[in-house]
Amino acid sequence: MDTIKKIPLIIDTDPGDDDAVSILWALSCDKFDVKALTIANGNVGLDKCAINALRTLEVSKRIDIPVYKGAWKPIMIPAQDASWIHGEDGLGDAGFPLPQTPATPGYAPVEMVRIAKESPEPITILALAPITNVALAILLDADFKNHVKEVVFMGGAVAVPGNTSPGASFNVAADPHAASIVYNSGIPVVQVGLDACDQVTQRWEDLDEIGQAGTAVADFVVRMMEFRRDKAVKIIKNEKGEVVACMAANEEAGRGKTGIGLNDLTTTAYLVNPGWFKVREVAMDIETGGLTPGRTTADFHGLWGRKPNCTFAYGVDGPALVRRWVEDMKAFRP
C-alpha cells in the first residue's frame, strides 16, 4: 500500500526509558517515516542519551536512521537531569551492551533544518525532551518554521501540578527559554503534557504481558523498566536536612502501587491516534521568570488578546492507548 503517505517525522529525544519505548512504538508503526533522531541534553547527559538512542535503534534493527547530537546544555540556565527516575545511564541501569554504531556527524539543529527543507511535505517534530534543539533550529534559519507542520511536545502542566517544581514539568523547566522561543515561533505546538500524561497508567500486568512475548524488544522494554518500577525514589529535604517528601515513580500523579506513567508514550500516542485525545485551541505562553520557570500558562479567556498558538491536550483515553501500545510491542519483531 505505497499509496498511503507516511508522516515525515523527526524525534527530538533524551532517552530516557520512556523515550526509548516511544521510539520503539514509532518504529513499530507503519504510519511514520522517521527521518532522524535528534538528541537533546535532558534526562541524562547528551552523550548518554545518544548511546541510548543507538541502543534502541539496534534493538529495532533500524541503524539506517541517523542519530544527531544536539546542544550540550540549555540556552540560558545550568543543565539539570532526571536520573532519579531513569537511572544513571538513562535506561534503568540494566547493563545493556554499548552500541556498535556511532552517532552520525552533524549538529542536530542544523540537520533538523536541512531535513525539514528537503522534505516535500512539512515535517512533524515529536519533541520528547527539553526543546533546546528545536529552538536553535528556529534561530538558525528564518524559513525553518515554514517547513514544520507541528511540534508535538511532551511538556507542560496547566491544571495539574508540575513534576519538577510545583508549577512546571521537566522538559519545560529544564529549558524554559527554548520553550518560549518555540511556542512564540509561529509553529503550531501540540502540548501533550502532564494534564494528559497524568491520566495514563501502564499497569504491572501490562508490562508483564509484554514480557511474556519473549522477543528481543520485549526483553529490552521489561529490563529497562525494572528500575522505575522498583527503585526510582526522590527524597526532598528542608533547609534543616529533614525529609519532608518522598516522590516515587510509581506514585506520581497518584498511581499508587498499580503501575507507572510513561509520559513520552502518551505524547507519542497523539501521533499514533489523535482520536484518543480531547484537545482545545488556546494561547499558551512559557514562564521564564517567577517562582516556577517553565510553567505553561494558558489564556483560556482570551485576556492577552492573542490568537491560539497551541493545541492543548487535556483528556485522553488511557486504557485504549495502553492496550494498543502493549499489542504493538508484543507484535514488534524486527
Binding site: 510545583p166 528542608n238 517528601a245 521564564t288 517562582l291 479567556h301 485576556l303 492577552w304
Partner: protein, 329 residues
C-alpha cells in the same frame, strides 16, 4: 448572646458590590463582633471605597462600627481598579446618598495592629488586595501572634485567573503584599476562584430578596442592577478582533466572589479544604499567581488552607435568608 462568645473580626475591604453584599451578611449575624472595617485600595479608589463602606453601615443601621482608611496604593506597583465590574462609584452607580458619618481618624494598618493586640485572637476577613494587612505585618512584629487566621478572597490554583490568565484580582493588584502575608506565619485560608467560580447567585435568589422589600434588600438590588446588565469587558488582539469577553452576569447567574469567601466565616462546614504550602509569584508572566506545592517539592510546612470545593446552594440560600430576615438596628 454572651458578649465574650462573639468572635472578634476585622473586615479589610474595598467596596465593591460583592464586598457590600458580604458586609451586609456579616452585619446581620450577631455572633460576630466587628471591631473595625479597614479600607483598601482596590475595586475603586480608596476614598470612594471608604464612602461606600459608610453607606453600607448606614443602610444597616450600624454606623457605630469604625471605618479606617488604609494605604492608597499597592506596595510597589501602580494601582489597578475593577470599575468595569463595580461601576465608577463602586456600588453600581446607583446614586446612593452621601453618608452622614465620616471615616474614623487613624491609619488602617496601625489600627489593625492595635485592635489585634487588644483582642489577642482576631480573625481578619480580607476581601481586597492585601496591602493593609502586609503593612500591619511589617509595622508590628507581634501582629502575627495576635491574628488567629486570615480568610482571603484571592488566588486561583486549578482554574484560570480573572485579572491575567493565571492570577486573580486581589493578589494581582498587590502581589508583593500577598507574598508578605502568606510568608508571615499567620495561617491563611485561601478562598479564591477555585471555590468562587462554583457559586452563582441566580435570578430566583434576587426575586426572594425583592419580595422581602427591606431597606437592605432594596439597597442590594439597586446596587446589583449594574453588574446584572452592563458589567462587561472585551479583550481584542492588535487587529481589533475579539479574543475574549468577560461578563459578571452569565447564563448561570452572577458570581459575587467575596460572598463565597465570607461564607467560610459563617459556616466553614460548607467547604472542602486542603493544607498546603502556597507562595505568591511576584514576577513572570502573571504576577499574583498563587502557586501551590501539592507534592512538597519546596520542603516547606503548609502555610495555608486551600479551599477547593463548596456547597454552593447551601451558601446562597443562607445568604438570602439572612439578608431577608435582617431589620436595621
Amino acid at each position: 448572646m454572651n458578649e465574650n462568645k462573639r468572635r472578634a473580626i476585622i473586615i479589610d475591604t474595598d467596596p465593591g458590590v460583592d464586598d457590600a453584599a458580604s458586609l451586609f451578611w456579616v452585619l446581620t449575624n450577631p455572633q460576630f463582633d466587628i471591631k473595625a472595617i479597614t479600607i483598601a485600595n482596590g475595586n475603586v479608589s480608596l476614598d470612594q471605597c471608604a464612602i461606600n463602606a459608610l453607606k453600607i453601615l448606614e443602610a444597616a443601621g450600624q454606623s457605630h462600627i469604625p471605618v479606617y482608611i488604609g494605604a492608597p496604593d499597592p506596595l510597589l506597583r501602580p494601582t489597578v481598579d475593577a470599575a468595569w465590574v463595580h461601576g465608577n462609584d463602586g456600588l453600581g452607580d446607583a446614586g446612593f446618598p452621601t453618608p452622614r458619618v465620616l471615616a474614623t481618624p487613624g491609619y488602617a494598618p496601625a489600627e489593625m495592629a492595635r485592635i489585634a493586640a487588644e483582642c489577642g485572637d482576631i480573625t481578619i476577613l480580607a476581601l481586597a488586595p492585601l496591602t493593609n494587612v502586609a503593612l500591619a505585618v511589617r509595622l508590628d512584629p507581634d501582629f502575627k501572634k495576635h491574628v488567629k487566621e486570615i480568610l482571603f478572597m484571592g488566588g486561583a490554583v486549578r482554574v484560570p485567573g480573572n485579572e491575567s490568565p493565571a492570577a486573580s484580582f486581589n493578589p494581582a493588584v498587590d502581589p508583593d503584599a500577598a507574598r508578605i502575608v502568606y510568608r508571615s506565619g499567620i495561617p491563611v485560608v485561601q478562598l479564591g476562584l477555585d471555590v468562587c467560580d462554583k457559586v452563582r447567585e441566580m435570578p430566583e435568589d434576587f426575586e426572594k430578596l425583592a419580595a422581602a422589600h427591606t431597606p437592605v434588600t432594596d439597597f442590594i438590588l439597586r446596587m446589583l442592577a449594574f453588574i446584572r446588565s452592563k458589567a462587561r469587558r472585551v479583550y481584542t488582539d492588535e487587529s481589533g478582533q475579539v479574543t475574549g469577553v468577560d461578563a459578571v452576569q452569565d447564563s448561570a447567574g452572577v458570581g459575587l466572589n467575596d460572598l463565597t469567601a465570607t461564607a467560610y466565616l459563617i459556616e466553614p462546614g460548607w467547604f472542602k479544604t486542603r493544607a498546603l504550602y502556597i507562595d505568591i509569584d511576584t514576577a513572570g508572566l502573571c504576577p499574583g499567581q498563587t502557586v501551590a506545592d501539592f507534592r512538597g517539592m519546596w520542603g516547606k510546612q503548609p502555610n495555608a488552607l486551600w479551599a477547593y470545593d463548596v456547597d454552593a446552594r447551601a451558601l446562597v440560600d443562607r445568604w438570602v435568608a439572612d439578608i431577608c430576615a435582617y431589620r436595621p438596628v
